[in-house]
């Protein structure tokens, strides 16, 4: 290990490694709980999930707000040739993904308990958490690939083991689609590392590869970008590759849906930011119009499909396609505002769609159907649930004052600066969102309940407790997003600068939205040194 790398880890507690390893240990411990004490498995799993959540909050607390680069780096050499290292690091972009993951997992565990085989369910969930956190924190291409790929296995088992009628088909489809993308990504990753090495020692270190641009020809970079884009595009999902999502979401157990929508889809959009824009700035600029087109297509297509759904859960699933389209739009607008908005939207979507899936799951628990036509007038029988649903739904639509608005606004603003007409089309997506969600709400909650719906019980106290943190986040981020944005922005600014130093692209001057923290000088010099 070189002295520089040693210095990075020396003396401090490897917090990020602990964040990844703790849930994995939890999975193992949960799996080893005695068969005769199933209730112990749940307690044990929730304990580990909460502990992990606490660790992610510790990461948030220890995060240096004004630093743009990666922080708290853990670095351990894993394989010598080619050089693969267990490198974990966090910056403003991944920080929130990590916190989101840390919060959503305990909520999913508490809010949607399985009906049978509790022990393996929780063990798989914890393993999934470890994989997701690892993917968000990995600063080594190969470790990222490992984490990106490992999450498939627990998710596959969650869907196929605890899902609904069509679970086997959905699980298989999910696994094969994502693996199809990963196949491209593995070849792309390996090719990137080997071509970047130019016969020298092969390294998979993200920063080494990303900061030394110009080694690959633009042509090669574009091919490699495409190979990554297919993998991330499946995961996001981008429109032509999205067909696994409605099935997987609908058939997954509630907890699985929450995680799938809240965390796992973000692996794709996060991947685009970290391994698309950062590693291939030239190709990202080149493909930005195409990606934005796909993003906008996703917004419109997802919204139209959601409008036509008969199944409440499927509706929410398609609304995810639309929301993820916004994130892609923001990301590939390549402006500070757009990317800020994209990252914010990732958090928002995780919280609000996660909450929506929880609510739909609770309705299903009570009524054993998700069909909109069979639900009616729930507002009468379950007023609290209706209230919570309204709030979450409005956040999902993007009502000012709630979190969804901030993200969507920034995204559209950023997109407007570089791709004006696409932004104009995307705005219709917001309108469509209010159409399908309000219409669904109207059909499900309004009116006089028929016999089956009349005596549906309202939210229990435990369920209210589970929903409470999500609602707090929704309102807080809508009213006062500054602490969140303050941490995102330096990293995003650095990313945009990285693109500017390495391509001919120049970020258009934007009308000042809010004063930006001064962290530019240092990052610019770093970017130049890299080149």
């Amino acid at each position: 290990m070189s002295p520089v790398l040693a210095a990075e880890t020396a003396g401090s507690f490897p917090l990020l490694t602990a964040v990844v390893v703790l849930p994995a240990i939890g999975a193992l411990v949960t799996a080893l709980v005695s068969k005769r004490r199933p209730e112990l498995a749940k307690q044990c799993a929730v304990l580990f999930a909460v502990a992990t959540g606490a660790l992610t909050i510790a990461v948030l607390a220890g995060f240096d707000t004004h630093a743009a680069g990666f922080q708290m780096i853990d670095h351990v050499r894993w394989v010598q040739d080619p050089q693969i290292s267990w490198t974990m690091g966090v910056d403003g972009i991944s920080l929130w993904m990590v916190v989101l993951t840390g919060i959503l997992f305990p909520i999913a565990m508490l809010g949607a308990p399985p009906h049978h085989d509790e022990k393996p369910f929780y063990a798989w969930l914890l393993l999934l958490e470890a994989g997701c956190l690892g993917a968000f924190l990995a600063l080594d291409l190969f470790v990222f690939f490992l984490m990106f790929e490992i999450v498939l296995v627990p998710m596959y088992f969650l869907i196929s083991g605890w899902g609904y009628e069509g679970r086997r088909y959905a699980a298989m489809k999910f696994f094969l689609y994502t693996m199809f993308g990963s196949a491209f990504m593995l070849v792309g990753t390996v090719a990137l590392a080997y071509l970047h090495a130019k016969g020298g020692p092969v390294t998979f270190d993200l920063r080494t590869i990303a900061e030394h641009q110009g080694v690959l020809s633009p042509q090669t970079g574009r091919w490699l970008f495409l190979s990554f884009a297919i993998a991330f595009g499946v995961k996001v999902p981008l429109v032509p590759l999205h067909t696994w999502l409605p099935d997987a979401h609908t058939q997954a157990p509630t907890g699985g849906s929450v995680i799938l929508a809240g965390v796992m889809l973000k692996l794709g959009t996060y991947g685009f930011l970290r391994f698309g824009l950062y590693v291939f700035p030239e190709a990202s600029v080149y493909f930005a119009p195409a990606m934005i087109t796909l993003g906008v297509a996703g917004i419109i297509y997802g919204a139209i499909c959601a409008t036509m759904q008969q199944d409440l859960k499927r509706l929410v699933a398609y609304s995810s396609v639309a929301h993820l389209g916004f994130i892609i739009l923001g990301t590939f607008s390549l402006t500070t505002q757009g990317i800020d908005g994209g990252v914010l939207q990732m958090i928002n979507h995780g919280v609000s769609t996660g909450a929506l899936f929880l609510l739909v799951g609770m309705i299903y628990e009570r009524r054993h159907t998700r069909e909109i036509a069979k639900l009616k007038g729930l507002q009468r029988s379950a007023p609290v649930m209706a209230g919570v649903f309204t709030l979450v739904m409005l956040s999902s639509i993007g009502l000012p004052g709630l979190n969804g608005f901030v993200g969507e606004y920034l995204t559209l603003l950023g997109a407007f600066l570089t791709h004006r007409w696409w932004a104009v089309v995307a705005v219709t997506g917001v309108i469509l969102a209010s159409l399908y969600l309000l219409w669904a709400y109207q059909r499900v909650f309004h009116g006089t309940p028929d016999e089956a719906n009349a005596d549906m019980p309202d939210l229990r106290w435990t369920e209210r407790l589970v929903m409470a943190p999500l609602i707090v986040i929704i309102v807080f981020m809508g009213v006062y997003p500054k602490p969140v944005l303050d941490r995102i922005e330096p990293s995003v600014k650095k990313l945009v600068q990285h693109i500017e130093t390495n391509t001919h692209y120049r970020e258009p001057k934007a009308p000042k939205v809010r004063p930006a923290p001064a962290a530019g000088g240092q990052t610019a010099s770093q970017g130049k040194a890299g080149k």
Binding site: L146, E149, V153, M172, M179, A183, F184, L195
Partner: protein, 510 residues
């Protein structure tokens, strides 16, 4: 005539007898001698015994063979390869690495065999003797530096396996498998021999070093003969590793042969054949790589696709695994095709890790097959996770490893192969390989789904079947395989390092 004879007798002259560095051959000799001893002692003692001493003796002999190979490994590493028997046998890292892999394959297969023989009432020392003799051939093949010696190794290896395939005398399919394997194997051996003849015709030697030297110093004006020998040798090797289009025997033979024997076929036999393939093509024909690489490229693509696509329609787990082993052979071929240090290294790593995966897989198949070795349909695996959670978990590990899921040795194996292919600029081949994995993953998931899919309401009424019996020895084999598969998945370093050390120098470009 008689006067001539007397004249010769009358003038006795010392014949130059070869001096043999026996120490270099010790791993082979231990295995061979051990096999003969086991055969004789086993014949004189009763066939049945409660103590499975056949198994333990086999393990002891195999361990002895490895024990002889390890000091050689360090000697070769520090002082360069040993050339024995006038350069007909070359003990280098490649030979020792794959030799150890083959012997480990024997040990795992032997562990599975014990319980199998008891269950099927076929007790006797013969399967162990044949396993060891076959491995002797494999070791010889791995260290052969002469095409004739390689052919000898190939035949010793194959003949024993033909018999092993027909081990289950009361099972018609076993006999059928033996017959098919024998006839087609004999056919491919003939091709191989003819390839040797043509290579001799083209280069004037059967010694690989001489061939390489000849090709380095001479430019053939007409290389038709050489190309024909490439093709024929490739047919011979392709058959043994079950590469498309010479794969068609594999599903039938794998399905019919006793399951422990299949684990040997898929691990040790493949390793030996690939050792030969690498020695002949990557090393002896190193300078003509531009002639044979395209052929191997096409064969690899075909093998990958056939192995994955045709597996999808199978319902018999043994046949599925047979096709998947074809797919894996394709992966190793991708490594061979790179014709580079990294390529050979990746092939070695792949073969070593695959040995554990496949031995474990067929170990589970052996156990689930129950008495008669017939329960190999997908339905027979239904609900295995409920009845035998640990067995199902072991199978899950092997299947996921074969699909290349992270933190198993399978992913590293694929990763190194892809790295080698990318380094050789065969991007499309790498992509085809990974996409074929996705298709194969479908097949692995079908098995996983059968085991873990949860019981449907309809299945609950299914008649209760007696619990599976998992013999102690098979348990050992499964545990070792699981530990190796996950262990090399978490810490691939030692094996990577060993495979790196094992690779001999390839002759540089012309």
């Amino acid at each position: 005539m008689t006067s001539l004879l007397f004249a010769q007798l009358g003038t006795p002259h010392r014949i130059q007898t070869p001096s043999v560095a026996w120490s270099g051959l010790l791993p082979v000799l231990v295995l061979l001698g051990g096999a003969v001893v086991l055969m004789v002692v086993g014949a004189l003692l009763p066939r049945r015994s409660r103590h499975s001493w056949h198994l333990w003796l086999t393990l002891l002999i195999a361990a002895g063979s490895i024990g002889c190979a390890v000091p050689l490994w360090f000697r070769v590493r520090d002082h360069g390869p040993l050339s024995i028997l006038r350069d007909a046998v070359r003990v280098d890292g490649l030979a020792l690495f794959l030799g150890i892999v083959i012997v480990v394959g024997v040990m795992l297969a032997a562990l599975l065999t014990d319980g199998y023989l008891r269950r099927e009432e076929l007790e006797g020392p013969e399967p162990y003797v044949l396993l060891m003799l076959s491995a002797t051939g494999g070791l010889l093949m791995a260290s052969a530096n002469d095409l004739i010696v390689m052919f000898l190794g190939l035949e010793i290896l194959s003949l024993a396996v033909y018999v092993l395939a027909g081990l289950h005398v009361r099972r018609l399919r076993s006999g059928e498998a033996a017959m098919k394997y024998f006839v087609l194997g004999g056919f491919s051996s003939a091709f191989f021999l003819y390839g040797i003849a043509l290579a001799y015709g083209a280069t004037g030697s059967t010694n690989l070093t001489d061939i390489q030297r000849f090709l380095a110093t001479n430019t053939l004006t007409n290389n038709g003969l050489l190309l024909a020998s490439f093709a024929l040798l490739l047919v011979g090797f392709g058959f043994k590793v079950a590469a498309a289009p010479f794969h068609s025997w594999a599903p039938d033979v794998y399905e019919g042969s006793p399951s422990p024997v299949v684990s040997f076929m898929a691990s040790a036999v493949k390793a030996a054949a690939f050792a030969g393939l690498i020695r002949v093509f990557v090393y002896a024909f190193a300078l003509d790589r531009h002639d044979w690489q395209p052929i191997v490229y096409v064969v690899a693509v075909l093998t990958l696709l056939v192995g994955s696509v045709l597996a999808v329609v199978q319902t018999n787990v043994k046949r599925m695994l047979a096709y998947s082993s074809i797919n894996h052979a394709g992966f190793v071929l991708v490594g061979v095709q790179a014709a580079s240090d990294r390529g050979v290294r990746s092939a070695l790593f792949y073969l070593a890790t695959y040995t554990f995966m496949v031995a474990g897989s067929f170990g589970v198949v052996t156990i689930v097959g129950r008495r008669g070795d017939n329960r190999h349909q997908l339905d027979d695996y239904k609900g295995l996770a409920r009845t035998e959670p640990l067995l199902a978990f072991a199978f899950l590990v092997f299947l996921l490893a074969q699909a290349g899921v992270p933190f198993t040795s399978g992913l590293w194996a694929k990763f190194y192969v892809i790295g080698a292919a990318v380094e050789a600029r065969s991007f499309w081949l790498a992509l085809v390989a990974m996409l074929s994995t996705v298709i194969s993953a479908f097949l692995y998931l079908r098995i996983v789904l059968a085991m873990y899919g949860g019981a449907d309401e309809a299945d609950e009424a299914a008649p209760a079947v007696p619990r599976l019996r998992i013999p102690f020895a098979a348990r050992i084999a499964l545990v070792v395989s699981v530990v190796a598969t996950i262990g090399f998945g978490l810490v691939p370093g030692p094996l990577t390092h060993a495979s790196k050390t094992a690779v001999p120098k390839i002759a540089a470009g012309k």
